[in-house]
Amino acid sequence: MTEEIVQVSGLTKCFGGLKAIDNLSFTAQKGEILGLVGPDGAGKTTTLRVLAGVLAADSGSVLLGGQDVLRNPEAIKSLISYMPQQFGLYEDLTVAENIRFYADIFEVSHAARQQREQQLLEASGMSRFRGRLAGQLSGGMKRKLGIACALIHTPQLLLLDEPTTGVDPVSRRELWSILYSLVFEGVSVLVSTAYLDEAERCHRLLLMYKGRRLFFGTPTELKSMLPGAVLSISSPNPEVLRSIVVGEQGVLSAMAMGDTVHVVVDDADLRSTQLRARFEQSRVPFGELRRTTASVEDVFVYAISRQRTQIGT
């Protein structure tokens, strides 16, 4: 039984002459985590703002739980929780005061608030900071407070704009475990992220580039889009290696990742031999060269570089 909580079709939003969202269509099912991925300026934040009913769109339609967001944005506001990219809580209020404020705004009963507050603060390891001013929290704790305020009522849909940006790995893991526990409660999550490793944790992905939809489907489907294979080459100077690789025949895209370069090629065996010869010939130092499984990131970089050559940018 799948029920679509979000139905977006033909959504367009312009800022001046620039199309921030260009004819975007997608759906999200009840109880799934849908990841919005794309480089900066892809239109992720604008999309979430339109869905949250705080930004008017130019054309298209957005249905949340059957309600028309563009025509009547107020109708959906008690169904959703939205956490903007920038910390949106009151820094001069304490953790508990912020939670209480949003509990009142969403008309959460006193008993439900206490139970939920305790549960959320415990899950995020913040119980001891109840009396601390929000402005004196670290970046990660601010995010977790944001989540706690967003979840103090039980939304049908949670909209999170880059919740893990600038957050330490431990807090990131805590955030994701909170999201998974929500899904069990039947809450749907729409989360944008700049970290592509997090994209793998989503049930489905919406890949955006320049306001348009590049891909929409599961991470596995996304990876199967990739023609050929991915080679991982370790190198003392990945950037230099990458610039050499890009021009080679059969290389579809390449990106530096830490001390390795990930290269998408049409044929793994053929191109391994070819690249090895090329490096030895021009005395480029390199370490291990092996075939690796494609990550979302590899596909993403491939998809975007292909898009660039198509549009000519």
Binding site: R49, A52, G53, V54, L55, A56, P73, E74, K77, S78, I80, S81, Y82, M83, P84, Q86, F87, G88, L89, Y90, E91, D92, L93, E97, R100, F101, Y102, D104, I105, F106, E107, G146, C149, L159
Partner: protein, 378 residues
């Protein structure tokens, strides 16, 4: 309108005021400083006006007039000048505000029963002080003239219907009792309300935008009306408390009489605050910047209240065009009400015209203020 959400906004606003030293200063300290400064500084009275006297005659009579000036609390006779140029130099050098010249034929003319005039040279740089000095000087001369008159009558055995030898010019506006304090201080309550109300309300919406808290707030089910009421109600209460403390200060510290009704005081103050807070709120909605909003708010609330409300500068002494403009200035009705409540003993029934004018303003402002805010980012 949901009461719980409105109360939540109000409570949040109060916590923020309590933790923000700047807001606290504006809400608590500024009103007291303002009423103290205005109570002491903006008095239109003058006392101890420095005077030079040139006595060209040097007779017993002229000395008697001179003593009149020395005895007056409004004048300090700095010096008796030797000649006219010295007197003129003293005024030029700002050593005195007033120069009195008693003519050489003072006693002779008095003796003949002919009119005699005493010359007064006034420093008109500050025309208010000059007018007052003139008034006080006239009073001194008048009282002297009265004595001479009685003297002259008794010596000649004439009835009081006889012609007056010294020219007498009565001025009814003369401020015998330092009354300008009573005239000005009630109006300062309006000034305090305008300054405090405009400054604080102009920050409300702009602060949420500047600190990035608005986006999350407008994604919630809270309505614009709940935001407005929740945000302004604390300032209305603070405003009324400030009004009480200002009135208490006016009566207890400056000895201004409070003869009217407390009900009328609260009612008119509430109406005025609704107008001020509504204006500040709308400006805050429109500018989205705390600094810009507070500047605009002061421009449209404090400026007209200080200049055109008749708080210190009487409206009927203004040019016709400005007098017409002053009818549009909502604060004139409040200042007029305040003066009539404090000094005239007015109650609500006596202030119907003022209350109607302010109620119309409050209704119009409230109408537009409730429609000003849109729950949209752009």
């Amino acid at each position: 309108m949901n009461l719980r959400r409105t109360a939540a906004i109000g409570r949040k606003e109060l916590i923020q005021i309590r933790r923000d030293p700047r807001s606290l200063l504006i809400a608590v300290v500024l009103p007291l400083i303002q009423i103290l400064l205005l109570g002491y500084g903006a008095r239109l009275d003058a006392d101890h006006i420095p005077v030079y006297i040139l006595d060209q005659e040097g007779s017993q009579n002229s000395q008697a007039l001179l003593k009149g000036f020395q005895a007056s609390p409004y004048f300090d006779v700095v010096k008796v000048a030797r000649n006219y140029p010295e007197l003129v130099r003293a005024i030029d050098a700002d050593r005195c505000k007033l120069g009195i010249v008693i003519p050489w034929d003072f006693s002779e003319r008095l003796g003949d029963g002919r009119p005699v005039s005493v010359q007064a040279l006034l420093d008109g740089t500050d025309n208010n002080s000059a007018q007052l000095a003139e008034g006080y000087a006239t009073a001194v001369v008048d009282s002297y003239a009265n004595r001479i008159q009685l003297d002259w009558f008794s010596r000649h055995g004439l009835s009081q219907q006889a012609t007056v030898p010294v020219s007498v010019d009565y001025r009814t506006w003369f401020n015998e009792d330092l009354e300008s304090k009573n005239f000005i201080i009630p109006g300062t309550v309006a000034l305090v309300m305008a300054l405090m109300g405009a400054l604080l309300s102009s920050l409300t919406i702009a602060r949420e935008w500047e600190r990035g808290t608005m986006e999350q707030l407008i994604a919630s089910p809270v309505t614009p009306l709940e935001i407005m009421i929740g945000k302004l109600a604390p300032y209305l209460i603070i405003g009324l408390l400030d009004a009480i403390s200002c009135a208490a200060f006016a009566v207890g510290w400056f000895g201004v009489p409070f003869r009217g009704g407390l009900g009328a005081f609260f009612f008119t103050t509430t109406l005025f605050l609704i107008v001020i807070l509504g204006i500040g709120y709308m400006i805050s909605v429109a500018t989205r910047s705390q600094l810009g909003a507070s500047q605009y708010a002061l421009l449209v609330t404090l400026m007209p209240t200080a200049m055109l409300s008749g708080f210190a500068f009487p409206i009927d002494q203004m040019p016709v065009a400005i007098r017409v403009v002053s009818y549009v200035v909502y604060s004139r009705y409040y200042v007029s009400a305040l003066k009539r409540i404090f000094l005239g003993g007015a109650g609500i029934n006596d202030l119907i015209p003022e209350i109607i004018a302010m109620a119309i303003y409050a209704a119009v402002i409230a109408f537009f203020a409730t429609r000003a805010f849109r729950k949209q980012i752009e």
